[in-house]
């Protein structure tokens, strides 16, 4: 009998264009990537974004500064506390308010807890992206403990809105110090489990080492900051270069690698969790006494001028650029969001790798879509 050849209709010489997303588990939200494929090889990645564009920058122009804080939570919801801090710092800098040490120390501890819980979720979802469902349970199990601390002190778990211009919304809960110390002790014990599960895992290493390499020149040219940039050797830690809050009085290392591949983007975050715990250790016993907020005017008006403040979120450098015309609401607010910039380098990194590698590379960038769309 003659063999029948069924034409598939797909010429392998041509590029095949498919949609990945907007609803796709490994895009971590509503991100649509239009892929040009040659067989299984990715030739071009074109991100289509804007599915949850809410116009936060436009909204900011019609509300007051204390109100803006509640919008910044909704950008990078995993770094909510750090985003709040950016707005508070810029307002305090503009009004030349002196912030007591107590507030600075509490803010720093909360920022580092935020960073830890963000990296925990990163670890959980990155493991799941690569097929290790166990990671998701381990990661979320430990993250709950941080969220419980937030809940006790801030009243909410993720969207904390704990900072306000001039200080904090409320004082820390009496249990705060004890619970944070308990958590750090607990997490020091469980973090090696993370390493056992993923870091040394052969399958994981095969999927990540050497995949999606980003050179230092490209990292700077594309402006890739945060752990993703530092994995390429780009020294961009705002906490080191322009210390804000209490970062100038703690000792910690800036995690830097030269390889710039997916594995080191992952590993940089693991190391950052250890550094964050070191920072918390140095501060938690030395929270100075005093007021938790400075009395500010009921209506905050920034003097006419332009202000730029940057902070280090869990994903990179968040810049806030405010133009004030002297009114109670800003004339123009621009958020330089780290995810938006990091996403632009995705095409460069994923080119000539397989689709499955694209999932690993995208996962290693730790994208949070509301921060991209704003």
């Amino acid at each position: 009998m003659e063999e029948k050849v069924i034409s598939t209709g797909i010429d392998e010489k041509e590029e095949y264009v498919i949609n990945m997303g907007p609803q796709h588990p490994s895009t971590h939200g509503v991100l649509r990537l239009v892929l040009s494929l040659k067989g299984e090889i990715v030739k071009n990645v074109e991100p289509h974004i804007g599915y949850i564009h809410r116009g936060i920058e436009k909204m900011c122009e019609s509300i007051t500064y204390p109100q803006i804080i509640h919008l910044t939570d909704r950008m990078d919801y995993l770094s909510a506390h750090i985003n709040n801090e950016a707005i508070c710092l810029v307002v305090e800098k503009a009004l030349e308010v002196d912030i007591p040490d107590r507030i600075k120390v509490i803010r720093t501890i909360m920022s580092e807890l935020t960073r830890i819980q963000s990296h925990q979720l990163y670890w959980a979802s990155f493991g799941m992206d690569l097929g290790g469902l166990t990671c998701f349970f381990y990661g979320l199990r430990d993250r709950e403990k941080v969220l419980d601390i937030f809940e006790e002190t801030c009243g909410s778990r993720m969207i904390v809105s704990y900072n306000c211009p001039g200080g904090l919304m409320y004082d820390i809960h009496p249990n705060f110090q004890k619970r944070v110390k308990d958590f750090v002790r607990y997490f020091r014990k469980t973090l090696p489990e993370y390493d056992d599960l993923l870091t040394g895992n052969v399958i994981f290493k095969e999927r990540t080492v050497g995949i999606g390499r980003l050179s230092l020149e490209d990292a700077i040219s594309y402006g890739v900051t945060g752990p993703s940039g530092r994995a390429s050797g780009f020294s961009c830690d705002v906490r080191k270069h322009e210390p804000y809050s209490a970062y100038d009085r703690v000792k910690f290392n800036e995690v830097l690698f030269n390889e710039g591949d997916t594995y080191h983007r992952y590993f940089a975050r693991m190391e950052e969790m250890r550094e964050s715990m070191n920072i918390i250790d140095q501060l938690i016993d030395n929270i100075p006494q005093g007021e938790y907020a400075v009395k500010m005017k009921p209506v905050i008006k920034l003097p006419e001028g332009e202000y730029y403040q940057r902070v280090e979120t869990a994903r990179g450098e968040l810049g806030v650029y405010i133009i004030s015309d002297g009114n109670k609401n800003p004339y123009r607010v621009k958020f330089r969001s780290p995810n938006f910039v990091n996403l632009s380098a995705l095409n460069l990194m994923a080119k000539d790798f397989k689709i499955a590698d694209l999932v690993a590379i995208g996962g290693s960038l730790d994208l949070v879509i509301p921060d991209i769309d704003r």
Binding site: I49, G50, H53, G55, E57, K58, S62, D218, I220, S221, Y222, G223, F234, S235, C236, H241, G305, E306, Y307, Y308, R310, E317, G319, Y321, I323, R332, K334, R336, F340, V341, L343, S344, A345, L348, D373
Partner: protein, 151 residues
């Protein structure tokens, strides 16, 4: 370099610039025709080495419309602010800096999308977030009866 030295340096590179020492950074108002050459020389000059475009913001100043560039040097950690503006609100256009800093690609598309500023020589000048039927929402004269509440 500190603010004063940077301001003087930019003035010497491009005498048509209006430089001033701002509260935080040295600021330079650049004529739009000189923007690209100044940006290129600021990056390539060893004394300044501005290799990192931190932030690119489109701003509507009422009469004028323009772009603000925050540049940083990863070598010296100094920063400078460049500003270009044009009175042409119908078709504002500046030179793209995508060939100097790759990160400008997304930033300029965002500026085009939300403020309607075109960038010449940009490789892919399309809207980023919104549909092509939208206006340019970050402009001050943008009207939306439904979603913007005026008090």
């Amino acid at each position: 370099m500190n603010k004063t030295e940077l301001a003087e340096f930019i003035k010497s590179l491009e005498p048509e610039c209006e430089v001033k020492e701002g509260k935080q950074f040295a600021e330079a108002a650049v004529p739009s025709t000189k923007l690209h050459s100044l940006a290129k020389s600021l990056k390539e000059n060893d004394a300044t080495a501005f290799d990192f475009l931190v932030c690119l913001s489109a701003v509507d100043w009422g009469q004028d419309i323009g772009v603000v560039y925050h540049l940083r040097s990863t070598k010296y950690s100094h920063m400078v602010v460049l500003k270009v503006r044009t009175a042409d609100r119908q078709n504002p256009a500046f030179d793209s800096v995508t060939d100097i800093w790759m990160t400008a690609d997304f930033h300029e598309r965002e500026a085009f999308d939300l403020m309607g500023i075109r960038f010449k020589n940009h490789p892919d000048m399309r809207r980023l977030f919104l549909d092509s039927s939208w206006g340019f929402p970050l402009r001050k004269d943008y009207v939306d009866d439904v979603n913007i509440v005026t008090r």
